[in-house]
Structure formats: structure tokens, C-alpha cells
Symmetry: D3
Subunit: 314 residues, 6 copies
């Protein structure tokens, strides 16, 4: 069974080709995306058994997502097929160096996810359950589903990893703060970005943020604290520097790549600091190629990069 | 102002390239469609002033639709921009010679159309108001909007043309029968296909269908009664044969092309029979090229074809 | 475990786009093919558990093949990765309505397949082992591997299906006759085409061919005996007519589609005649879309077509 | 007849489009490459008569190579067509800024080249014979062919230019050192890169490398000795600085461009230093456009660049 | 009616895709361009009513231009269709970072423009007439047309804006100097680039150029005087600095974007300095996306950029 | 030297991809065409030495034409490069099964061809000079050039082949009749199509046309006299039937393919009837693939087809 189980919304993704805009394009690239499935693919490429599920419409978009995840070796046996609702879609374009996203996800199959979609035995068999703050923002029943999944995980002593992935297009900050914090309180690993954390805590001073994180049971791993990733535990803070890469091709997916790398480190039984180093390298590689998950590196390539980096750092 | 005013839902349209399926395509063609806007473009290419409006989301899909309609010379000044809802989308593919369509139109901007979106002066200034049986199927407020538009037209002695365009994916047959018939009762021109009519009347015998059509005030123009188009009036039935074309490239849009041709004939003040001949030729040309509306011929080309046909028939 | 296990050579496939020739194309389509993997995909789409294996080079071509088979739901857990030899390639083009194929398969990973690549338990767990006459033509060790696989199947009472797939580019007719006949003698189902059979038996008269087939223990299913598929058993011959389809887009893969349909019928426990009907419909659908295996229909679509056909035949 | 004659292996070249990987691409770019034919094209674009030959399979890949070389004005009259072996192929991709190449060249037509393929009169008529260290690595008969060609050149007082082009995928370093050095001993111009030279001489200190080069009769031109190209003669060393260009689009082909530029300088009767300047500019321009040989500049453009550079350097 | 009226030559534009050259491309991108229509589109995107006209051939190139301008909301009602001459074409490619343009515009429809093509009432109804120095270079009748248009404008107290757009491929410098200066003498706004001005005045010293500009009645806006745009009036010179952007994707269209921004500022009744700031931002954005006019930003995006810049500058 | 020498205008050719129209295409296919160069390529593919020349502009279009002709093995050594005029261009599209062509050839380089462009020794060395009725329609100097070339041929006892290729877009019928007939009077082989001949002779009755042809010294080969090709000599008429092919992909180039086949038959020393059979097969194959000259078959393929046809006819 899967070492890591994750679930959420994956959507069809449409993007203009050849630096055109959506409006002026006669053809579009057609792929898919979703924070949780990106993490599952990232883990699979790093050599782990990862399982992803979610509600998909019984339409070509849903079938494409399932096929491509299966191609990547992700276990898709728990996907719930929804005949009544379409798989969500998103469109994305870059204009004057700014990314815009347009969603067709309201009333999507995924937003109709319910606790009954969860397979307790499946979750129980995993070592880690990974959830994000996007799912609870989709609908109330989605929030219930996340809570129920965490409850199942804890019951079966499965670790819970939580990436807040704050999306202010989906809910307002007040609601988001309350729900995300309540979920962080249930997690074993809490993986926010620094800017996200500022919004969540309504606080921009790192020194004042740390005690707040110490209220949590979770180990917090905060990305992007000035070119450092900070591991915050009650016992103290460890800063892991990351090497900035240039030749950035496409920044989307960096956070999911980070997450996959970190969970891979945990599964390998590595110390936290080393797991974060893997996370940093994995995140950095994802942005050096095109694609949200297409760019996720294999274990072979990440290993080589880490070894090279070790040489350079020495 | 526009000679013909029409309104309804236009949606982004995604199709696989190179005979692939949606599921297996890495790129898609990106155009748009909608029965009413197809008719408006058809009329514009035939040399008429046509106006189309409807609710479009303030997203690239909506903007693309508006731009392309404007490019075709359709008056788009009455479009209602909806910041709160996305423009609808449809995907289409051909497998083993069968067409499948997948809609992302539930909760679309268009389904939120309300009577207040109508500009009475605009409708009043037209010679013909053209509506279809798709709009009333979208939502109750859409139905109200259609009823209100017809009321406005009648008040200002604007002729009403009505193409039932029965879509059983949008509503059940019982509801469709009731609403469509009630709208046909308001129309001046009723333009059903023969197969559609069978479903609407729950009757497959042409002889028994005709008296039912005579209950209407409208002149009915029934397409496809065995290679004939039948003009049904209380005074009797006229059958206009159509010349079957081979080299059919893409059958979608034939009905809209027919409709544009018929309304063009009316606007030209032609006798009904000649208007139907124009309709037949226009419908036939649309299916000899790719595209729902891209294939709509210009007046120059239709005229030449009609003249050639006249020669051949002689 | 897999209901049907099959193995052989799958290769990268390169074809010109847009009706160009290989020589004049600046871009090529890149897919893959292989008779046995086509059958495995065909079975998977019809709802069965199918497993395919073979030697693939550890290169992007091999990885692409494995990923796409996995996407299609084919079990690829027994693939043997060969670091020392490249995955084979083939190029294909159509000129003046004739297909030409160019192979880069000599010394390919697949031609290095050895009996030790076989997993006896895996074969033992299947209901049917499917092999073709291509594999024994690749190399002596490949022939040994086929013989060994059949031995394993028979030991574990797994049925053996054998499609001769005569390829005179790979060996001369004398050698082919000898080996193919010796393999047919081991099979439970022998699935030649009529023209192939003529070459194999050096005999063109159907009446004189039948007694030769009766020498075999296998049930022979002969394709294309004048628009019939003939089931030849010692007890007699049953002719199953097939409905000729027009709109033939791409004839490649018809035989593999036939085979998948036939095996699907067997797995469903259908009588031979009905299995052959399914085979006919499946083969016919494959040629109505582009692609060797891309065109393989799902159970849902085949079922619908069979039911329609039943109506028409009645 | 040709001023420069060269021969070796040219192969079909497949690359993903649109920054995809080979594995994930549904289409590939299809061109060709080969160090010696790159040099021949480079020379032809600079205005010289260049002849290339080699064994090509009688397949579309071989025909494409011959046609494109002919298009570029390269004399291809001595190509040997091999019906029994396929033209070699290579695939190339870039991942995370690293280039990977995959060859299908074992047993290719080119590897079957034999001394009998050489046309002595053709070589005799040239001013320069250009060979590389790739050909002798392909097979023993290829090595014999290179030796025989050099023997012919020397017999007819044709200068021999030799670019080692060390490819450790094709042979081990011990064998490569021995053969390459023995060929360098026959050459009039030896054109190694600095890093290559380190491997060939198993020596990384420039001061200790120079006496080794002085053992050769050849004039050595060593590329990339810290932004200099060094002309090593017994009479001493001349360092020619090269102006580093940014906007590097594709580094492949730089060495071949250098070589074409250098030979062009020799043919023009320029002093060595000026020939190396031309070589530097030509090499630098090749990397500012896409393509191995597609990027080779015409004489008109190189001249303009050299003149501009002259201005700037002054 | 249009706030700004402009006229001139618009041509079909062909460019290689995928970094190829024209010579080696099997496909080309097909768009259109023209300095005046670029300005019209730029103004329309900034929210103004702009009208463009000119002679277009009654061919698909001409129709494409008219349709796309109409799509962009430009009023094209005064286009003159010329059955006897083809719409001009240009081809463009980039090699080694240098742009080359090839024209097929001699004898084009546009070069046959005559004063009778002008609609005096149309020009009279505008606030600004915008002309460039390209049109008078096309033919004598074109020059007469420009003079006549300016005469009409002045008669109806319409402001005249004049961008010299010096094209030495179209005429020699002596003729250009004379004609351009004579037109500048008629203008209200004269918008040269600094380098252009040097050529026009045969003078490279800024201090000596200024008195020459003061001879004109026009307000001169000189682009690119060392990262400043200089507003030259008899009352003095105001320098408006522009923020240099990196990520320059395609420099073509910058000047037209500047012009559109400046005219937009005038129409908004802004002080000259603020109009120039808008011009600078608009010009800078155009070069950050692909396309001559495709890259013209909307008012919404320009406004946001200006506000951000204001913050940064503070 | 070339066995057949021909000259005339070759132009860049632009066509929409994917069944779009020129107006709606964002990309175009870019090739080239010209009746005489089509014949030269056809001959080269059939194994002959063919030389083509003409005036080409020194622009990428001209260079592309020269390169592709050279690639096809056509001798292009006599091309005249014209710095002052652009290479002509044509655009082509198919709408509702009708082909439209748009020319940009007025004032093209080719229309400036003069007798001085002819190399007498080159023409003298050929066995056949092939000219068409397009060249004399381009300009008076072009007509003089054709006359002068024929004079040179006759002086050196080179046979003259003449295809009238009547193009009423280039001149009026009266002028065409006079000039074409005067050229036919000089020819050894006159190759009109039947419909063309009707226009040229202003006569539609075959029986009355034959005596007119007998006035000529030339052997006339009339294409398309009711599925026959008629060889008209004073000694009588021979009718060679051609086998009609279906699967017609693209009819353009049929006449040029016919011509290449006929000249090939002459060069092989075949009897006229057999030469016409080759012409028929060659013409028929050209229309079974895409492209004006891309579809020209090689000798190998034509030979195979002729042999098959021989079998079938027997
Ligand atoms: N330019 C960069 N260089 C190196 N690593 C980076 C870079 N950008 C992102 N990363 C890595 O990816 C991680 C996640 O980046 P972040 O910007 O937080 O992603 P997201 O916005 O997708 O959540 C960072 O913590 C870091 O490890
Ligand atoms: N094959 C054809 N040949 C000629 N005309 C046709 C053909 N198919 C459709 N048409 C024309 O188009 C009209 C509408 O066709 P129909 O099939 O009813 O369209 P739709 O299904 O889009 O409503 C017909 O009445 C006829 O005039
Ligand atoms: N034109 C056709 N119409 C219907 N079925 C067909 C057609 N062509 C092939 N088939 C089906 O496919 C089967 C295999 O066809 P065949 O030509 O023998 O394939 P292959 O050459 O790939 O072995 C046939 O027996 C038949 O069932
Ligand atoms: N970045 C660069 N700027 C300028 N010239 C370059 C650059 N890179 C390569 N060259 C030129 O190309 C030559 C060959 O480069 P090299 O890297 O040795 O090529 P290769 O690896 O293909 O053999 C160099 O000696 C130099 O003249
Ligand atoms: N790199 C740049 N950064 C910011 N603005 C620029 C840049 N390049 C051009 N612009 C803006 O565009 C204007 C016109 O640029 P210019 O080079 O004169 O265009 P053109 O050559 O098209 O006439 C400049 O005055 C400036 O406002
Ligand atoms: N459908 C066809 N089937 C067989 N041969 C054909 C066909 N069409 C054309 N050809 C061959 O090509 C020749 C030239 O055809 P034609 O239509 O006259 O060409 P064009 O219009 O290009 O001059 C014919 O004489 C015949 O030999």
C-alpha cells in the first residue's frame, strides 16, 4: 500500500502556447494540476509509493488526470468517479511577467467530496497522510472530509503533514485563519511559507511569530525566511540555507516539490535537517523546467544534484 | 442599429487537434460557439447588420468571444459583463465517427441572464428578434428573459424567429415540450428540424404533425423532411427540396447556417420559398468546411453557389 | 494478478505529421507500438487485467513505453530493464497510399530477451498466455524464451493463445514455417489471417487448408476468409461474418484489436462464436481511428456498437 | 572538386519541442548531425567547396541527410549507400540545464565503413582532408578507413586536419589515447580542446602539456585555454583571445564551427593567427542560434562581425 | 466618432516560428503590422475611440487586417478597398540577435493612396489626427494625401501629431529630411527619437539640436535622450526619466506604444509631463511581450503599473 | 550538364494549415512553386539531370527556392540573383472545395528576366529545352527571353518542349492566343490540356481542332480528351487511355508531373505512346499526395506502379 496518502482537487489546466495570451491563442496546451497530486507525483518520482484520490468527473478531463497519475506510478485506486459533476478546469497565462489564473472549479466534482469518500483502511495503511489548506476552502463538506481524514490518520497512528497553501480567491482571510490554524493544531508537520505565515498570523515580525508556532504540537518547517528554511520546534529553531538557482523557467510547483522532497526525507528516516535539504533541492529543480509536476525530478537526478552541492558547499 | 437582434449563451470551445481524443491530446484548439452567435455571424457574413448579446464572464474566454464577434462585424455593444461568474466552456471530440460534447456551463455567466439585461430600445430598433430553445433551458431567469424579450419585440412590432434547438442534456422532455411550445405560440417564424419536431410533439407521422403546426400563428419551416424543407402555413405546405452535398467535413452549425440564410432571405424581402432555398444553400456550405461559424459563407460565395445551382436545376 | 499475460517487443514509433514524408518532415509524431502490447492495451480498455513484459532499454523510449502502458492500466511490473541495449525504434510513412516501415530493432534490448526473464509464478497466475510469431523471429534466445513461456503455461494449465503475425522482413519463409507451426502445435488458440495461412501452409485452397488445421490441437480462428472469420475445430467449421466498415482511417492494429476482442470473449466465458463477433467489432473499431493502440475502444463503446449491430442484423 | 574533403558518421537527430522531455513529448523535431558534416556545411556557408561522404542506409533518414547536405551546397557525390544497415539515429534532450544524448548507432551503416569506400582521386584533388576522432571509435574497419584516408592524403600532398572529438561513450580512454595520438602524429593540423587534451595526455598542467604537443609534426590549435586559443608550434606559442558572447542559445556545434572557420582561414591563405580569429568568431556565432549546423553563419555575416569586432578591439 | 484618426499602410507580417530562419522554416506565423494601426490599437486598448484607414487589397491579407483591427475596437469604416492592387507584405527574422525585414510593398494597395481617399468630415470630427513619416515615403500621391489630411485637420482645428518614423529603405536621407521637416512644421506634436533626430538634422549635439526644434510651432517630444524623454517647447525643456525594464522580449512596437500612451495622456487632458510618463510606461510594456501590437497593454494594466511605479519612485 | 534545361518564375508559396482559411490562420505553411521548377524536380526524381534557372530576389524566399531545388538534385548554377527586386510570392487556400490563388508577383525579380540572363552554352548542352506559356505572360522582356532561348535551342539542335499553361489572370485571351500559338509553332513538343486548347483555338469540337494542330511542326500531346491522352501527328492520332485514380489528395501539379513523365520517356528513347503512359502514371501519382512538387514520385515508385498497371491491364 501507499507510503504517503494524499487527496484533494486536481483540475484540467489550459495554457497558451508560444508566449501568446489566452485571448489571442487559437491553440492551448492541455495538462492538469493540483497541489496534492503534484506532491504525489513528486514522491513517486523520488521512488516512493504514493496514493492520491479525490472526486473526478466521468469526463475526458477526469480520465486524463487518472491516466497520467497512473503513468507516473501514483496509486489511483481510490479515486471517486462523479457522474453528476464535471472535473474542474483552470486556465493560466503570463502577461508582462505576471501570472493570472482563471478557475472553472465552482461546483466541480471535487467540491462535492464527502467524508464517505474516505477509505479508512487505505489511510491506516500509510505512514503519512498529506493534506493542504486548499481542500477545506472548497466547501463545507470538503472541510469535513479533511477533518475526518485527519481523525482517521491519528486513530491509526499515521503522521499528518499539512501545507496551508493559502488561497485568498477561495475564502476570506478570517475564515482561512481560523480553519487553517485549527488544522495545523492537528498536524505532525506544518509546512507554511514565510509570507503565508505572515498573513495567517497577521504578524510580520519573525521573532513574534516563533512563539505562536511553538503553541502547535507540530514541527513547523517555514520556507523562505530570507534564503533559509527554518525548522521550528519547541526545542529551538534550525535554519537550513538554500542555494538560489537562476535560470528559473517556471516557478509554479516549487512549494509542492519542496513538500515532496521533505516527505521523502522523512520516509527515508533522515534527520529533519537533511530532509529539508532534500526539500530545498527538489523545490529548486522543479522551477528549472516547464510544468507544475512535469518538472519533478527523479531520485537519480536529485541525488546527483545533492552530491554536487555537497562538494560545492565543502 | 441591427437588422436582427439575437441573444443567448456563447461558450469557449475546446477540441483536440490531429484526430486525437480529448483524453490523449497535449494541445487543444480553442474557439467558441453558441447557436445564437453562430446565426449572428452567419447574417453578418451575408451582409446584414446583426447584433448579439448575452452575459459573458470578465475573463479571457469572454473577451475572446466578444473580440471575435466584433471582428466578424457583429454588434456587441449590449454584451453584459459579469464579474461574478465565469464564461461557460464546452469540450468536443469525435470518436469512431460519433461526436461527444462535455459542458462546463452550469452556473456560467450566461445562466445568470435576467430580464434587466435587455435593452428595450435596442430590440425595438430591429426588424427581427431571433431566439432559441437553448436559452430557456439554462435557468428560470433565462426563461423569463426570453419571455420578456419576446414581449418587447411584439410591443414594437418586431418579428420573432424561434429555433427550438432541443437539448435534452439541459432539461427533460416534458418541461422542454411545455416551454418550447409556449414560445412557438409567440413566434412569427418557427424553425424546427423534423426529428426535433417528432420529439416535441411525441408524434412521428408527418400527416398528424401538420395540423398541430397549424395551431400556431407562426409560419413553420421544418428542416429535413426527407430531403425537403417544408414551409407549413395554414394556407398549405410548400416543399423545397435541398441538394445533398457530399464532402461533408463537419456537420455542426448546419442548422444555424440554415437559420441565418432564412432570415437573410426575409430581410431581403424574398418570397418564403426563395428564402428557404438560400437557407438550404447556406446550411449546406457550412458543413463543407471546418468550424461551427468559421465555415459560414459570405454573400458573394453563396450567391455564386445559388446561381450555379439554378443552372444545374434547369 | 493479470488475467492475460503477454510479452514481446515494443518499440518507439516515429511518423510524419500533416501527410508529409519522413524525408521531408521537420517534426515527427512520437508514439510506440508492438503487437503484444497492443493486445494488452486492447484488453485493458475492455475491462480486463492484462500484464505485458519484455526487455526495454533504460532510455527515454523505454520509459515512455512503460509509462504509457501503465497509464492504460496494463501491469508492467515484470518489465526487464536492459542497461546495455537501446529500446528498438521504427519509423513509418504513407506514400501514394502504401505504408512503409523502417526498423531500428536489430540488437535492440528486446532481441536480448532470455528465458531467465520469465517469472513463472506470474505466468502461472494468468488464465491466458498470449504470444505472437514476431518474438521467435527476433533471435534464437527469443525463440527459447517463447518456448519456455509456453512450457510454463502448460505446466500450470494456463491456456496459450498464438497469433502467428508473420513478418518476412525478420526471417525467411522456410524458417518461419517450421517455427510457427511448431508453436501452433503447442497453442490452445491459433489466430492466423487467411493470407498469412496461405504463406505458412504454402497452399491457397481453403478446402485443402482445413485438414491441415485439424492436425493441430488448437482451435483455429482464421481471419478474413472472404468477409468471414472461420472457427476451425475438429468438430467442424463455423463461419462468422463481419460487417465491413468504411471510413477506414488507419488499418494498422486491426489484427491486434481482433485478438484483444477474442480473448476478452473467452475471459467472459462466452461461446466461441460470440467471442469472434466481439473480436470482429473490436478489430473494426480500431481502424476507424488513428493510432495502433490509441484507437482501441473501451468496453462501453464496443458494447454499444455490438448492441446496435444486433439491431441492424435482426 | 572539393577544397576540403571530410567523411564520417552523420545520424538522424530527434529532439523534443517546446522544452518538453523525450519521454513526455508527443512530437519530436527531426534533423541530423555529425561532426564532419557540420564542418562541411560550415565551410560551404563560408563560401568554400566542401565534400562530405560516409555510409548512409538507403532509408528516409539517410536520404534526408544527403538532401540537406546537397541543399547546403556540400558535394555528396561520394556517399556510399548501404542497403543492409540502417542510418544511425540519436536523440537529445535538455533537463535541468544538462544535455543528454541517446544513440542508436551501434551496427549503423556508418560503422560498416571500409577502406574500399574511399575514392583516392577524390581525396587527392582536395587541399585539405579533415577527419575526427569519432570515426576511429566506431569500429576497427572505420579506424582502418581513417588510416587509409590519411595515407592517401599524404601520398598526394593533401594537408590533414584532425579534431580529436573525444567521445568516451564510444571507447575507453586507454584505447582512445593510443589511437588518437597515433592519428595526431600523422596530422598537419591538430585541433583539440583544452579539457580534451587534459584527458588525452592525462595531464592538467599547461606547461607540461606543451612539450608533448611539440613532439608532433602538426601545428596544434588548442581551444579554450582560459578564454584563449593557443597556436602551438615548435617555434613557440601564440595566444589568440576570444571575445566571450552571452545570449548563448545552444552550445552544440561550437567546436565544429571553430574548425570550419579555421580551415576557411587556411584556404584563404591567411596567417595562422587570423585564421584562428575567424575560427573564434565562427564558433561564437554558431552558439547564438539554434541547431548544430543550422546556426552556421554565412561569409557575409561572419565578415561583418569580424569587422565590427575589429572596431571594438581597437 | 473617433477621438484619434490615423491612416497609413498596414501589411501582412510573416515570421518564422521556433527560432528558425525564414529560409529554413516550413511554417510561418502570420500577423500584420503598420505603425499607424499599431498606434490605433494601442489607443483602443487604453480605452479611446480610435479610427484607422488606408488602402487595403481585396485579398485575404487585407481582410485579415480589417477584421483584427475591428476585433480590437478600432473603427475601420473608412478603409478603402482596392481591387487592383495587393495588400503589402513583410517578412521578418532574427539571426544572431539582429532583426532583418524584407518588404513586398512596392506597388501595394497602400502606395496608391490618394487625397480622394480622405473623408473630410471624418477627420473633422476627431480631436487628434496622427500621421507618420512612413506614408509620405511610399509615393508622391501618398505624400499629397498626408499634406491634404493635415490641411483638413488644421481647417477643422483638429490637432496634428506627427511621428517621423524615418525609414531609409524607403527614401534617401536628403528627400526624407526635406519632406519630414516640412511636415513637422505643420504639426502640433512632433515625436522623434533622438537617433532619428540626429539623422534628420544632420547634427549630433543635443545643445545645437534644441534651437532647431524651437523653430517649429510644434511641441517636440524627443525619445531616448539618455534614458530621458525630453519635452521641448519654446518656453524650455522638461526631461522625463524612464525606468529601464529588463526582460525585453521583443523591442518592435516600442515607439508606437509610446505614441499611443502620449496621445492617451493628451486626450485625458493630462499635463504634458504626465502624458509622457504614460507614454514611457506604455512603450516599456509593449517590449515585455511578443508582438508589434499584440503586446499593447490595456488601461487597467497600465494604470496598475503606473501606480506601482509611483510608489517605487517615492 | 543537364539533359533538360528549363527556366521561368518560381515563387514562395503560403498556405493555411489544418483546413483553415488564409484570413483566419495564425500560421501558414511555407513552400514554393513554379511550373518549370516542378518539372525539373519531377525529372530529377525520375533519375535525370535537370537544370532550372530564373531570376530570384536575394532574399530568404529566393534562397529557400535555390536550396530546395539543389536538395532535389536540380542544377541551379545558372540562377540569376536580383538585388533590386523581391522574389514573387503566392498565397493559396481552399474554401468549399474551390482553390483560390493570390499573387504578389507583379514587379517580381522573375518578371525582370532578360535575354542576357541566358547562357547559350548551357542551353546548347541539353537534349531538351522546356518552356511554358507562363513566362511570356509576365512581361515583354520575359517574352523576348523565351523567344531568344528557343532560338538558341534550335541553333544547337536542342529539342523544344512547350506547355502552354494558359493563365488568364496574367494576360487577356487575345494576346495569349497570339503569343502561345507563335511559340507552339517553334516547338518540337506541344503539350496542351484539352480545355486549354479549346480556349486557345476558340473551338470546342475535337474533330475541328485536329487539323489546326496539324498546322504545327510539333508533335502535340493533348491531355484529358475524355480520359485519353491524344498524340497528334500529321501521320494520325494515337489515343492513350489513363487509369483514373481516386483518393485524389491535391490536384495541383498534375500537369507538371505529366510533363516530367513525358520528357523522361523521351530521354529514355521510348516510343511516344510509352512516354505518354509514363506521363499519365507520373501525373496520377502527383495528385495522390500533398504538395505541388513534394508529391513527385521517384523512378523506383513509378516503375513499380507501371508494372502493376501492366499486370492489371493484361
Ligand atoms: N530561486 C530559487 N532557488 C532555489 N530554491 C528555490 C527557489 N525558489 C524556490 N525554491 C525552493 O522551493 C521552495 C518553495 O518555494 P516557494 O516560493 O515557497 O514555493 P510556492 O510559492 O510554490 O509555495 C523554497 O523553500 C526553496 O526551497
Ligand atoms: N448533407 C447535406 N447536404 C445539403 N444540405 C444539408 C446537408 N446537411 C444539412 N443540410 C442543410 O442544413 C440544414 C440543417 O441541417 P440539420 O441537420 O437539421 O442541422 P442541425 O442538426 O445543425 O440542426 C438542412 O435543412 C439543409 O438545408
Ligand atoms: N474494413 C473492415 N471492416 C470491418 N472489420 C474489419 C475491416 N478490416 C479489418 N477488420 C477486422 O479486423 C480483423 C483483422 O483484420 P486484418 O486485416 O487481418 O488485420 P491485420 O492485417 O492487422 O492482421 C478482421 O478479421 C476483421 O474482424
Ligand atoms: N561563450 C563563448 N563565447 C565566444 N566564443 C565561444 C564561446 N563558446 C565557444 N566559443 C568558441 O567556440 C570554440 C569551441 O568551443 P568548445 O566549447 O571547445 O566547443 P565544443 O565543446 O563543441 O568542442 C571556442 O574555442 C571558441 O572559439
Ligand atoms: N528598455 C526599455 N525600458 C523602458 N522603456 C523603454 C525601453 N525601450 C523603449 N522604451 C520606451 O519606448 C519608447 C520608444 O522606444 P524607441 O526605442 O525609441 O522605439 P522605436 O525604436 O520603436 O521608435 C522609449 O522612449 C521608452 O519610453
Ligand atoms: N484523377 C486522375 N486520375 C489519373 N490521372 C490523372 C488524374 N488527374 C490528372 N491525371 C493525369 O495528370 C495529367 C494532367 O492533368 P491535368 O488535369 O491536365 O493537370 P493540370 O490541370 O495541372 O494541367 C492528366 O493528363 C493525367 O495523365
Amino acid at each position: 500500500m501507499a507510503e504517503v496518502v494524499t487527496f484533494g482537487e486536481s483540475m484540467g489546466l489550459l495554457m497558451p502556447q508560444f508566449e501568446k495570451t489566452l485571448e489571442s491563442s487559437q491553440t492551448l496546451e492541455f495538462s492538469f494540476g493540483g497541489a496534492e497530486s503534484n506532491v504525489a507525483i513528486g514522491l513517486s518520482r523520488l521512488g516512493h509509493e504514493a496514493g492520491w484520490f479525490g472526486r473526478l468527473g466521468s469526463d475526458p478531463v477526469g480520465k486524463k488526470i487518472a491516466k497520467q497519475l497512473r503513468a507516473e506510478g501514483v496509486d489511483v485506486s481510490r479515486i471517486v468517479w462523479d457522474d453528476g459533476h464535471a472535473t474542474g478546469m483552470m486556465m493560466r497565462e503570463v502577461q508582462y511577467q505576471e501570472v493570472s489564473v482563471y478557475y472553472h472549479r465552482k461546483h466541480s466534482a471535487a467540491s462535492h467530496m464527502v467524508p464517505a469518500d474516505l477509505d479508512e483502511a487505505y489511510i491506516a495503511s500509510a505512514q503519512i497522510l498529506h493534506v493542504t489548506g486548499i481542500t477545506p476552502a472548497l466547501s463545507d463538506n470538503c472541510l469535513q472530509t479533511v477533518r475526518e481524514a485527519i481523525r482517521m490518520a491519528k486513530k491509526h497512528v499515521v503522521k499528518v503533514s499539512f501545507d496551508p497553501n493559502l488561497r485568498l480567491k477561495l475564502w476570506d482571510i478570517a475564515k482561512a485563519r481560523e480553519v487553517i490554524w485549527s488544522l495545523a493544531e492537528e498536524a505532525d508537520y506544518f509546512l507554511p511559507g514565510f509570507d503565508e505565515l505572515k498573513l495567517l498570523l497577521d504578524e510580520s515580525d519573525w521573532e513574534r511569530m516563533r512563539p505562536r508556532l511553538n503553541e502547535l504540537d507540530a514541527i513547523s518547517v517555514v520556507k523562505g525566511v530570507e534564503r533559509n528554511t527554518c525548522i521550528v520546534q519547541r526545542s529551538g529553531v534550525t535554519s537550513v540555507p538554500f542555494m538560489n538557482v537562476d535560470n528559473v523557467v517556471d516557478t509554479i510547483g516549487a512549494g509542492d516539490g519542496f513538500c515532496a522532497g521533505f516527505l521523502s526525507g522523512l520516509l527515508r528516516g533522515w534527520p529533519l535537517e537533511k530532509a529539508v535539504q532534500l526539500a530545498n533541492v527538489n523545490g529548486a529543480m522543479v522551477i528549472q523546467m516547464k510544468g507544475d509536476w512535469e518538472a519533478a525530478p527523479t531520485w537519480e537526478l536529485v541525488k546527483r544534484r545533492m552530491e554536487n552541492q555537497a562538494h560545492i558547499e565543502r
